[in-house]
Amino acid sequence: MAVLSPTRSALPSGSADRPVRRRAAGGGIAYLFLSPWIAGALLLTIGPMVASLYLSFTDYDLFSAPEWVGLENYRRMFTEDGRFLTSVGVTAKYVLLAVPLKLGLALGVALLLNRRRGGQGLYRSAFYAPSLLGASVSIALVWRTLFGDGAPFERLLGALGFQTGGWVGQPQYALFTLIFLAAWQFGAPMVIFLAGLKQIPSDLYDAVAVDGAGRWQTFRAITLPMLSPVIFFNLVLETIHAFQAFTPAYVVSNGRGGPSDATLFYTLYLYQRGFTDFRMGYASAMAWVLLIVIAVVTAVIFRSARLWVFYTDDKGQS
């Protein structure tokens, strides 16, 4: 065929069989490249998800066969288990306080740093450093001691006239030490905010400057709306993250969630039920409740985005 009419066959056959060949070859090879990921997705994600959903309707202690109990785990959780409800309250309080505090600090410091001045890069790196350390046991130990009895924080408060005692040991304050620890790690969202601030075109600022806008007006009219996609992104990420906090609560309270369950994070209670009491059916049910709550909260944030997140390519927005 090619010999008979080289000019005619070259084009159509070339363009006709190339995509087909590529798809056929690429298809098989693509699954080869993906095979580790597919194995992981099936064996370590989808399989275990289905299994934990099933286990959540059973009594299971890891050593004997799971026993079907229907909705019993879920019913007990919400009606009989006081510690479960406590852990929900503690976690909700933590998420509601730690996330806005951390993001507020991150945004504030990003605005402070967003200037073309010498040393900016240095400050940025230094402010980011706690984000790398904060999740470690070492820093949690520091927190436990710094906010303990007779430690620097108590003395600082004492010098200011507040006699509170060490915060770690007191139910009404203990959670705040963990909130401070979260806020201390504002560097990661700050770096993302800074990157977002750099994306805002400077002619927008020039335009409002010509109109005689003050600082606050500029912030409200330009910076905030232009930054809203980044705020949204950070909010989703930090919220999901905060729901799953574990290490600091474990270390600060020695794995117990004390004092008086004041730092009993949801994940810590789940760990206790599953891996110290071996009530794995119950722990699975708790895991599914967590998944659903995170999904719902994330969905709510996504829905609310229509009201406050401004996308530049969205012409209908003002």
């Binding site: 580790p36 402070l112 993250h241």
Partner: protein, 282 residues
Amino acid sequence: MTVLSVPRGRRLGWHLVCVAVLAVLLYPIAWLLGTSLKPPDEVTSSLSLLPRDWQFSNYTEALSGIGGTSFWRFLTNSVVVAGGAVLGNVISCSLAAFAFARLRFRLSGPLFAFMIATIMLPHHVVIIPQYAIFQSLGMIDTFWPLILPKFLATDAFFVFLIVQFMRGIPAELDEAARIDGCGPVRTFWHVMLPLIRPALITTTIFTFIWTWNDFFSQLLYLNSPENYTLPLALRLFIDQTGSSQYGPMFAMSVLTLVPIGLFFLAFQRFLVEGVSTSGLKG
């Protein structure tokens, strides 16, 4: 130009505010360093960051280990776990990313969406069945449950990171390789891998630091002290010794953070760039 045009007083004020923020942020770290060199009675009685009586023996005591297991054993364990995790993530995530970014296959859309969804998935919904699987394989109290999943690209975040990076690389480059007769395997190896080095470095750094700091999975899977990693050894330290051992405990905390500090100093540009371009969490 802008640097010079700002009045000197305002520049100075700006630096003062920044240094104040820095001081508050670095105080806990400075306190940790100071306390690691203090004798027990100074830990809470003295507010000074510097010890009055320098106890370098805190460090020798920390290095001697806990309950018969030496510090070096814990360190080796941590290095093995973190090293294995890095190797697994770099290999499996770059392979998967190449398929998603460059190859055409029928399920690419749904699979990619699923991969993204797993980034958001709380670990807890899979942890119990995973534990049961590893238990039935006899892998509890070994490093396998901590390393094996990384070779199966379960850290979907890094797949996404590398996909994003690959999408920024001009398609002409692998077109050219294809025209020269390279199949996908050779294109991946000879063209893609060298080009995505920055993304692989970011993956390496973050996998290392996250695994190094990780406490939850190591707590779950490792039971005997000779298999303990540094975070677990630190916890053991609190359990076995009282507050009298503050000095050595914080000396060990410092030693545990040293590798992260070194990584930070060596790669701070990569770290900060990695965070700002991909939204990585520290």
